[in-house]
Amino acid sequence: MVAAQFLSETRRRVPSIARLALLALLAGFAVACATGVGPRLSRTQPLRISEVAGHGDATRRASTRLVLNGLESSPPEQGLFDYERAIQIDPTNPYAYLALAAFEVQWGDLEQGVELLAQSELLLESEGLKSPRVEPHLIGLRGRSMLRGYDDVERRAGESWLDEARRMAPEVWGDGWLGVAELR
């Protein structure tokens, strides 16, 4: 009822030429999006942890810097110590759990990885940090964790999560893995 009233009000008050212009603008925007010329609504620039290194209080910043140190380690398992130390300094830093989850899900203890990923997501939510830019990481890692599952159904579900991550952030998930450089 409200919608109908809104439309009739609009028709009454807005001249038809203006309505046509608005329609044309909307159509052009849709075409641009579909062809890739305009902004891609579903695509997003995935978050890099270095971008949030300056966020939060002193403890969070120090903790996030330790995460970045860990992400610079080679081989990647050398970074585990830094991620754990980052959690010790700031046990509520979602990025520390995310980095640790990325390692465990892809190369380490899968069960731990899944728990860590959930904890990271929970902390991001509760701190209001769960932005669309972090979604590709969460979705992709969820997919990777399911790919390591035992039954076909789970693996197929994992593939579709991974496809979704690829679609959202092909530059990161194009090869199906989240590398430390891509998270850093």
């Binding site: 009000e9 008050r13 002193a58 810097r65 050398q78 959690i87 010790q88 300094i89 509520t92 728990e115």
Partner: protein
């Protein structure tokens, strides 16, 4: 005799010409000419010589075997050392929260005024600026290089950290862990093994100059020195000088008793010769430098230059200066009598004597002698024995005993890096001890003449997300009682068990929870029949409150309402929740379980509350980060372990309830001294006030306090009086009064305005309302005001407002 000679002569004649006699025959003939007694004597002597030689040879062989066995085997017992967690310092941190100066001093860093050449292990503390030359931290996986850094302070806050020189900004620095204890063998010998490469030449020179200047040339014993010593002793009329070489001293310490008998001295000399034959000078010197006794530190015997260097100067041997080497060499003669900690004058005098000897023997030049002699004694203040960390060390030892036998722990020189936070441990020990003393002062009837019967207590603190044990004080005095009440005692928990009842009721089963936070509970008289007769729970004040809010029931810790709720949902469900959260003790499935009648240890309670605090993830209790063997190889690395046992939403609701207890309920005293920030807590007082519990957590710390007598008797005060102040003091000092962070609220928890008297969803027009948390989809459907007409009018008003907005804007 004459007859015998005649007979021999005639025999010779009978056998022919003398010219034809062979030399052998002549010798035989001449022996035959010896008198029998002489021959017998000769034989006896030969036999004695043979037997004596045989015995001596066997003795030497036996001593040789002893020498070889000792050198070829494990010559030294090296106790395993336990270290605290490292201190991490970063910009923005209050330096008091890491006790920066105290940490540096305890680690043996020395304050200096020389800013030009600041050596590793030194710091300069000036107004607004601290420059520290951090020592390298040797560790197989988390090695830290030595680096010179400057902390710029604004008040107590570390504004920035920069490298010196260069000024490159540093994000965080790690200060090496502190040793909190060691596991000794029967002799309580503490040593840190060194190789000859790790020892500077001037230390070797100093030791040789004063102890054995001809070490490189003598064969194990030094006859010139022995002769000199004998003369000196004769002149003095007493034993004024020893003639032992380093090798003899080593042999004496390694194999023999300190008794002064000729037999022992002979044995020492023989063994010294054997050692010199068997081993080269470098091996003997290395063994000596690791074995030599450097005095007592409490009950612990300090051996070897490695440990002595750490103890006296807080550094590694390779960092020693000439005058420091001379001091170490000086005190070898009488480690306790010449200890620089006891009498600096005597130690200084002897150190200068060593320096002079070094100069006389051409080991240092005149300039070095003068420069070194002018320097006073600068000693590090390495902290004394662990003291208040001993309960933690005992716990660690019990845990390690599952994988390492006692012999390994006491002699293999393992390095055990623990999770203990040295600063929190100290605060915990002081808070507990001070709190109990205050209690005794306030209630003199609690005092006991026998310390073994005095009121006791314990405090355990944990990081909830990781389960790392940060502090553990198992009693008010380890000297009086080594029984750890936090990990070894199991006591009834009283009301600290109640949250498990509420969690069981708030946790959805088949999609619906038994209660929401808007519900009411019945606090009217209750009787539950059990196998032992009827059970009638009562409240602390022995009154009943009728219909009460869920929040009110837990905030006031109402027994009857809680027992009824537990009975309604089933006691098995309550026990299941408690077990999932981390309680491992036996939980009898009886109605009174809901009020905490089961015996549980404080560390289990800490873990269960840590699970709530971490949003439903149960951590493994961690006491060790990693374990490194004497050769520097990592034996074990304990990783963090997480397991979700409770939905985050349910954990948040429980946290919210406990936050209410801290803000308005029985635990509101935690706010008494201005402690602000998120706190969730629960008091617990058992029947007859025998056990006083207090559990509380912030987003980053959970701590449990228990107070009571070892032989249960009434303390006579509730937990809010006996245990709460200890918790509050501990947390206030631990956090500096500023609690960081917020409790995690997951997205499936919504905040809805409700009308308190009915628990209905409050709409505009509802006279009273306040926000309450619900799992998504569980908020009440009933509304306030609950009239269809009002609801219709409200909807129409909303629509009219929207249309008005449209008209105004389009």
């Amino acid at each position: 005799m004459a007859k015998a000679r005649t007979r021999k002569t005639s025999t010779r004649r009978n056998t022919g010409s003398r010219k034809k006699t062979s030399p052998a025959r002549r010798r035989r003939s001449s022996r035959k000419g010896l008198p029998p007694w002489l021959r017998f004597l000769g034989l006896a002597l030969a036999l004695v010589a043979f037997v004596g030689g045989f015995v001596a040879a066997s003795y030497v062989v036996r001593l040789d075997r002893v020498v070889v066995a000792k050198f070829a085997g494990k010559p030294f017992r090296v106790p395993s050392r336990v270290f605290s967690a490292p201190t991490i310092v970063y910009p923005g941190l209050d330096q008091h929260l890491v006790d920066l100066r105290g940490t540096l001093v305890r680690l043996g860093y020395r304050e200096s005024s020389d800013t030009k050449n600041l050596a590793p292990g030194r710091f300069v503390w000036s107004s607004g600026r601290v420059r520290v030359h951090l020592r390298a931290f040797e560790h197989p996986t988390r090695r830290e290089p030595a680096r010179d850094v400057v902390f710029r302070l604004s008040g107590n806050i570390i504004e920035e950290i920069r490298e010196f020189p260069g000024g490159r900004e540093v994000g965080a620095v790690q200060i090496e862990p502190e040793q909190i204890g060691a596991y000794y063998g029967p002799n309580r010998e503490q040593r840190d093994l060194v190789t000859l490469d790790e020892v500077p030449d001037h230390l070797i020179d100093a030791v040789l100059a004063v102890e054995d200047q001809r070490f490189q040339s003598h064969p194990g014993i030094d006859l010139r020195r022995i002769g000199g010593a004998m003369l000196a002793n004769l002149r003095a009329g007493r034993v004024a000088q020893g003639g032992s070489t380093l090798t003899q001293q080593l042999v004496k310490n390694f194999f023999l008793t300190p008794e002064r008998t000729l037999k022992r001295k002979m044995q020492e000399a023989v063994m010294a010769l054997l050692v010199e034959v068997r081993y080269d000078k470098a091996a003997i010197l290395t063994a000596y430098l690791n074995e030599i006794y450097f005095g007592q530190r409490g009950p612990t015997a300090i051996h070897g230059v490695g440990e002595a260097t750490r103890l006296y100067f807080g550094k590694k041997p390779r960092e020693l200066q000439v005058e420091e080497s001379a001091l170490l060499a000086a005190i070898i003669q009488s480690p306790n009598g010449l200890s620089p900690h006891r009498g600096s004058e005597r130690a200084l005098k002897r150190r200068n004597l060593v320096l002079e000897l070094m100069h006389e023997q051409g080991r240092i030049d005149a300039a070095t002698l003068e420069r070194s002699r002018a320097i006073g004694l600068h000693l590090a203040s390495i902290s004394p024995d662990p003291g208040d960390a001993r309960y933690f060390l005992d716990l660690l030892r019990r845990q390690l005993a599952e994988g390492y036998d006692s012999e390994v722990l006491t002699s293999d020189g393992l390095q055990i890096y623990s999770t203990l936070d040295r600063r929190l441990q100290r605060i915990a020990a002081n808070s507990l001890r001070g709190g109990i003393e205050q209690l005794e002062k306030r209630y003199p009837k609690l005092k006991r003449d026998d310390p073994a019967k005095a009121v006791q207590g314990c405090l355990v603190a944990m990081r909830p997300q990781t389960g790392e044990l940060l502090a553990l004080v198992g009693g008010r005095s380890y000297g009086v009682s080594q029984f750890d009440r936090c990990t070894q005692a199991r006591r009834p928990t009283g009301s600290v068990f109640k949250p498990f009842v509420y969690i069981a009721a708030l946790e959805p089963v088949r999609g619906r929870p038994a209660i929401t936070l808007a519900d009411f509970l019945d606090d009217s008289p209750l009787e539950i029949s059990t196998s032992q007769g009827a059970w009638r729970p009562e409240n602390y004040d022995r009154k009943f409150n009728g219909r009460v809010h869920v929040r009110e029931a837990i905030e006031r810790s109402l027994n009857v309402a809680t027992a009824r709720l537990a009975n309604d949902i089933g006691i098995a469900r309550v026990a299941d929740v408690a077990r999932r959260l981390g309680i491992e003790s036996r939980l009898p499935l009886v109605p009174s379980l809901s009020l905490g009648t089961a015996d549980v240890s404080p560390i289990e309670i800490a873990r269960a509350y840590a699970t709530i605090a971490s949003g439903g993830i149960r951590p493994e209790t961690q006491t060790i980060e990693d374990l490194v063997d004497a050769s520097g190889q990592t034996l074990e690395r304990r990783r963090l372990h997480f397991e979700r046992v409770l939905a985050p939403g349910t954990a948040f609701l429980a946290t919210s309830l406990l936050a209410g207890v801290a803000d308005r309920g029985t635990a509101k005293g935690v706010r008494g001294t201005g402690l602000r920030g998120p706190i969730a807590a629960k008091t617990g007082t058992t029947d007859g006030e025998r056990d006083l519990w207090f559990v509380g957590f912030t987003p980053e710390l959970v701590a449990v306090v228990w107070i009571g007598f070892d032989e249960p008797e009434s303390v006579g005060v509730p937990s809010s009086v006996g245990a709460l102040p200890i918790w509050r003091k501990f947390v206030k000092e631990a956090t500096g009064g500023r609690i960081r962070g917020a409790f995690m609220r997951p997205k499936d928890v919504e905040s809805v305005e409700i009308e308190p008297s009915t628990g209905a969803r409050a709409l505009p027009g509802c006279p009273t309302h306040h926000p309450e948390y619900f799992l998504a989809g569980t908020a009440p459907e009933q509304t306030c005001p609950d009239r269809p007409e009002r609801r219709r009018r409200h909807r129409e008003e909303t629509e009219r407002g929207f249309m008005k907005w449209l008209r105004r804007n389009f």
